[in-house]
Amino acid sequence: MKPKVMIMMPAYNEEMMVGEIIKSTLALYPDFKVIVIDDGSEDATAEVSKAAGGVVVSLPFHCGGGTAIQTGYLVAAKYDYDYVVKIDADGQHKPEQIKDLLTPLFEDEAEITVGSRYLNKTNPYDSAMKDSGRVFSSTLMSMLKKIEVTDITSGMRGWNRKAIQTLLPIYLKREIIEDSVFWMVETIIASRVGLRMKEVPIEVLPRQHGESKSFSRRKMLAYPVRLLTTLLQESGRRGN
């Protein structure tokens, strides 16, 4: 029996790219279901996604990346998906690499897979500032939390059913995690509850349309503080 695979694609005002990404994903993996979590887009993201063959779950207003991803987890749990892979709707993640994230999950090498820009080579597309931020946060995690990661902020990830069923109740019980540190907190939780993580090398392309929602200059400057306070907060947590 073929496993049920969901491709989760949170999207906010991505009408320019989302259709193309859905079409290329479905062309490569016709058995997979592409579920777009439309995070209150003001443009035609939902319509374009449906026209391209995706299924759309619409948040009524812009809630932020963390909430959109957790909505994806809810859908995956409710509809009993065996595997979930998240890719961005802005065209930075290559659909061809979805299989690279799924293989370790299929072979039970890990419960969570993370696409890393830095595993085998350097990342040629991003600015030195962005790269430094990612390397700084990954190093800090490795040092303070003893979790070996090279690309902690990577948004191209895969989960098996066990990971979703373990993480979702934890998310529903705790406060909403801020977008900029969502992956870092998930990595800490996963390590705390004993979910195995594996990084796989990926290539992340530059954005072709619009501005990044997760990286503004102001956010980048505030990021080190956010990172340190989050690490302090997570250290102070009892349970998950």
Binding site: G64, T71, R237
Partner: protein, 134 residues
Amino acid sequence: MEDEVTNVEIPPYSLIGFVFALAIMLINFYLLRKRRIGGRGFLLWLAIGVGISIVFIAPPVFLPLVNLLGAEYWLSGLTGAAFMFFLAMTFYLYVMTYYFHSRISELHDMLMKLTMEFSVRKYAEEQDEAKKAD
């Protein structure tokens, strides 16, 4: 230049101010670890705590400012009392800010979770209707 304040005496009740600043910083740290205060709020109150403690334990740091303002005396009973009142008000504001901030955060989280549930249910209904239509 004769009028400039050069000799700073640290009054014994400075200790109260220092303890107060220390308390603010410790409570702040506790609230951060308990996720009751955000990173920005933590930094703001940490800066306030550090500032107040410097006023009390190392007042000469502020001599240039005192002289710039043209003050003739470092600290009188009146300014001391006024400062204590200021500290009390600051602490009151701190508690109030913390209370409203945590309440707003709680409500925000509840709204987000409700929105998630609502969206998924709406999606499920749409799927059911589509199946029925088929």
